[in-house]
């Protein structure tokens, strides 16, 4: 039993990583109705920017803040320059655009900061949390930040005018335009926010997985799995899904024989397919009703 509890705890700790990433995935999906395959790379690039700022001697929290602002602006810039013209294009073109962005960002990160693995500092320290060997203070801090982020997002979407406008623009663009919402800028705002959330995710994840241009591939896949599990339309679902995926991954590794580190990605695959087949809307998502 103790093994079980410990594994669940460890699962929640890794789950916080996925929850963060899934939150960013859901944000962009809400805003533009597409999954951004370059999301992980954008987060990685933001993390590198913050690392670079710290290398230049800027204190952690100032670098953190500056990175959020740069990522936000960067997200909006990418949308305005590259994806706004593609808004009416077929899904295929959009997917191709995301992949192109993925290649460009990954390649440039490697070019600027090269492919060696770098240490990344944590503001929470890495001593054991409350005497437990399984959760470090950093991981506890990560869970805290994720939950805080979720609450802030909830307040933003429920109680601010601009949050309401964003929801309206995503749900029924035509009607939203009729009541005077600038839907095009709402999408840009969604990109900016997703990019900033991705930056937070990257900064939190980097101390655990170490900083390098390819650090996000596995995390992104798990983030997708978490988002799909929780429901692509629900930020709360994304976070719940993230923790569930983390716990599931740890339990599968402990109790199913033959599942070690090498099977981690296939587990994410199996999870995505199972959820999509049996409950396409996810645990907390709204099913999309189609009118024909």
């Amino acid at each position: 039993m103790e093994l079980f509890t410990n594994q669940v705890l460890a699962g929640i700790a890794t789950g916080a990583i996925y929850a963060c990433m899934a939150l960013a995935v859901v944000m962009i999906y809400q805003a533009i109705d597409h999954l951004n395959f370059a999301q992980g790379e954008m987060a990685m690039f933001s993390t590198f920017i913050s690392w670079q700022l710290m290398q230049w001697g800027i204190p952690y929290w100032w670098a953190f803040l500056a990175t959020l602002i740069i990522s936000f602006a960067g997200g909006i810039l990418i949308e305005r320059l590259l994806f706004k013209p593609l808004a009416k294009a077929p899904v295929l073109t959009n997917v191709a655009g995301f992949i192109a962005l993925y290649g460009i960002i990954n390649s440039f990160a490697g070019l600027i900061w090269d492919f060696t693995i770098k240490q990344y500092p944590t503001p929470f320290g890495s001593s054991p949390f409350l005497g437990s060997q399984l959760i470090s203070t950093h991981q506890a801090g990560m869970i805290g930040v994720t939950v805080l982020l979720l609450i802030l997002l909830f307040l933003f979407f429920q109680y601010t005018r601009i949050g309401l406008a964003m929801r309206a623009a995503a749900a029924l663009p035509e009607s939203a335009r009729l009541v005077g919402i600038n839907t095009s800028w709402m999408i840009a705002l969604g990109w900016g926010m997703a990019s900033a959330i991705g930056a937070i995710a990257g900064i939190l994840i980097a101390p655990v997985v170490f900083l390098e241009p390819n650090m996000m591939l596995g995390v992104l896949l798990y983030g997708f799995a978490a988002a799909v599990l929780g429901g692509l339309t629900s930020p709360l679902g994304a976070v719940v899904g993230g923790f569930l995926v983390g716990i599931f991954e740890n339990l599968a590794g402990t109790y199913i024989p033959g599942v070690g580190n090498e099977l981690k990605l296939p587990i994410a695959l199996a999870l995505i397919i199972t959820v999509l087949v049996f409950k396409p809307a996810g645990l907390l998502g709204r099913p999309i009703v189609k009118r024909v």
Binding site: K88, L92, A96, L111, E262, I273, L276, V289
Partner: protein, 337 residues
């Protein structure tokens, strides 16, 4: 707040390509064929090898084109089918001692089955979800191949070495040249079969589903059957390409079939023009030669060059090589007058 989507007015996932616009005219086809037959006689072995790879990737892109351009479904997971084909051929040749030519149809059949089965869950998914599921498949495949459980057959991380076949009947040509002509014959056969498939009843069913699924099912097209069938056919052709690839490269290893390969094939399709079958070879040339050129400019830059070129294609020539070909045709037409 209701979440209702207007389906009928929704833009299709892939732009419709008329059936006749999918192929080349007879004259152009013969010129291209002649070039492909004669070219190896004048170049070095290494270039012949590259041309073989050009045909092989061309086949894989063609397969994706049938799936996406034909039936309107996405796949970022073609590398998984390619890997299964390659491993089937390699294992049959090295462990069973089967003739290389005989392994190809088996690779194709196994991949057809695999694709058909994968098509079942894919049925529930469309657009982005399908791209996501296949993306996950491609990412997971190298790890599945590394499993200790299959290691006796697959050789684990090390992979398998495959012997290159000699030219039969004592023909006076090098191994590379023989393999090139062998691949060329198979490629032409599959190309003709694909063109005929898209012109047949099944092809029309694919395209009806691509353009409007609801209308297609209202007209009596078995949507589930044809969608999975498209997946199966595409996977089967990719499997044959994978088998040929294993023979040409003489080596299979899990890390040769990562998501990068799947993305390359996808790029090849977009560059060649979605739904334009001859474009497959143009796309294949793009994914083989552009990385070389990019690496020549600066190491590690190939991703960026790929990405920038892809954006250029999306913005300037959204229909890929097909658009270029049409413009060229019009120019020639004007010059003749």
């Amino acid at each position: 707040m209701s979440a209702v989507e207007e389906v009928v007015t929704e833009a299709p996932a892939v732009e419709a390509v008329p059936k006749r616009a999918m192929t080349l005219g007879l004259g152009t086809s013969l010129v291209v064929l002649a070039a492909l037959v004669l070219a190896p006689l004048f170049v070095k072995n290494f270039i012949i090898f590259q041309m073989t790879m050009l045909l092989i990737y061309g086949l894989a892109v063609l397969a994706l084109n049938i799936l996406t351009g034909g039936s309107g479904q996405f796949s970022l997971g073609q590398s998984a089918f390619y890997a299964v084909g390659a491993y089937t051929s390699a294992i049959l040749m090295e462990h069973v001692g089967m003739n290389y030519a005989l392994t190809l149809p088996i690779a194709g059949l196994i991949c057809f089955g695999f694709g058909f089965l994968f098509g079942q869950p894919a049925l529930r998914l469309s657009g982005v979800y399908l791209a996501l599921a296949t993306f996950a498949l491609a990412t997971a495949m190298p790890q599945l191949l590394k499993l200790g459980f299959f290691e006796h057959w697959t050789g684990g991380v090390q992979g398998l070495v495959v012997t290159k076949p000699d030219a039969p009947f004592g023909l006076p040509m090098s191994q590379d040249m023989w393999l090139y002509y062998f691949t060329l014959v198979i490629t032409i056969g599959i190309y003709i079969a694909s063109v005929n498939l898209l012109r047949s009843r099944s092809g029309r069913a694919f395209m009806a589903i691509r353009d409007n699924e609801i209308a297609a099912s209202a007209m009596g097209v078995d949507v589930a059957l044809y969608k999975t069938l498209a997946f199966g056919v595409s996977a089967g052709i990719t499997g044959v390409a994978g088998g040929l690839g294993a023979i040409a490269v003489q080596f299979v290893a899990p890390d040769g079939y990562t998501i990068t390969l799947a993305i390359s094939l996808f790029l090849g399709m977009v560059v060649g023009g979605v739904g334009w079958l001859p474009g497959s070879i143009v796309g294949s040339a793009f994914i083989i030669f552009v990385p070389n050129i990019a690496e020549g400019i600066s190491k590690g830059l190939s991703g960026a060059v790929f990405g920038v070129l892809l954006f250029l294609v999306i913005f300037l020539v959204p229909h890929g090589a097909r658009q270029v070909a049409i413009v060229a045709q019009q120019l020639i037409g004007k010059l003749k007058k």
